[in-house]
Symmetry: C2
Subunit: 224 residues, 2 copies
């Protein structure tokens, strides 16, 4: 009888000596990873093209050039892969927000936050559209909502964390949340509407001066 226990994606020896963390992830694991990546890429594409709701599993697997059954080896349904992608996108955004230097003034901090969103929008349009849709589901379908409140709350917390150093003693947590809403709303909203009949250069020309005034007004609101 073998002493080797084979688990989902890793092999573990149970005889005292645990030889190496495994040369492991040989070709099979790489293939699996590659397949999953293909699925995620394809899903992100079709989600942003057709919308999450209108997308079928066949759309995803056809775009990924994989069999339908393969999808179900990796994800249990459409909602799962969407949640995964939303999570990933939010994480990306949070990561970019995290590098703000602590020496910045409130104006610099706000400018930075808006700019991060702006760059994210420019460089990751598919993710932006996905998040925008995801945001919408928060009000529409309670079941999906529960899966997605996590990522979106982390997003708000990240913004709140950036603003925390500038908070005066008795500033309400609600006030900060409101602030985060205003910033996120402005950025998402402006870009979303900009997407009708404006090209990139126009959007860029449009956002710059508006960003300045928005930052100015927000910081004067912030500091009373």
């Amino acid at each position: 009888m073998s002493t080797i226990i084979i688990m989902n994606k890793s092999v573990v020896k149970d005889n005292g000596i645990d030889r190496s963390p495994r040369k492991a992830s040989s070709r099979t694991e790489k293939r699996v990873a590659k397949t999953q990546k293909k699925l995620l890429k394809a899903a992100l594409e079709v989600f942003s093209e057709y919308g999450v709701d209108a997308t079928t599993i066949d759309d995803i697997t056809q775009r990924a050039d994989l069999g339908k059954g393969t999808f179900y080896r990796h994800f249990s349904n459409k909602s799962e892969i969407m949640t995964y992608l939303v999570d990933q996108a939010i994480e990306k955004l949070i990561e970019k927000l995290a590098v703000l230097e602590s020496t910045a003034t409130i104006e610099e901090a706000l400018e930075f936050i808006i700019n991060v969103h702006y760059c994210f929008f420019l460089e990751n349009q598919e993710e932006f559209i996905l998040l925008f849709q995801g945001r919408l589901f928060l009000k529409l379908d309670r079941r999906i909502t529960e899966q997605m409140e996590g990522p979106f709350n982390r997003y708000f917390e990240a913004i709140e964390k950036l603003l925390a150093p500038y908070v005066r003693e008795k500033m309400d947590i609600l006030r900060i949340r409101r602030f985060a809403c205003a910033v996120a709303g402005f950025v998402f909203g402006f870009f979303s509407f900009s997407m009708i009949g404006m090209d990139f250069e126009e959007i860029e020309n449009g956002i710059k001066p508006l960003r300045q005034s928005f930052v100015k007004s927000l910081s004067s609101f912030w500091t009373h």
Copy 2:
């Protein structure tokens, strides 16, 4: 052989004398109108609850307490009833925008525009959610897009028309469009994000001071 030509919903005499615009719309026509109203109300409800995509025709007719066939007597498919509702909602919003007095200053005009959106959001949450979804489709499904660009363009034109009197000679049409985007984006975006974990009073407290600073910064942007 009768000289009366019966058309879809009106009766026309073709013998010279056209007696009255018809006592006509007797009970039958009222019943038809009532049925259509029930369908529209039900559709608006379920669209805002489940989302347009997730809604089925059965959802609509069940909510309206009508047979499924009845739906198809009034609308040819889901997309048609959605377009109708979007059109209606935009018209409502435009109508409220149209009453701005021409004596207002630019600050007053901006304050007014934002306030109209705010009231519309408070009083017509279902329509607001529908428009928000409709806005999203503009980028997602080219076929639906074509049906809906009309209403959304009229919306932008309405805002541009309000701002036109304050335009300096050589102000670009693009600049005005950008401005309209910023306003619409700010309002839609802020409310949309506000809907997560905020009640009405909080939203009201949140929007007021932000609106003031936003108006101030926008008007300074406007006048250079």
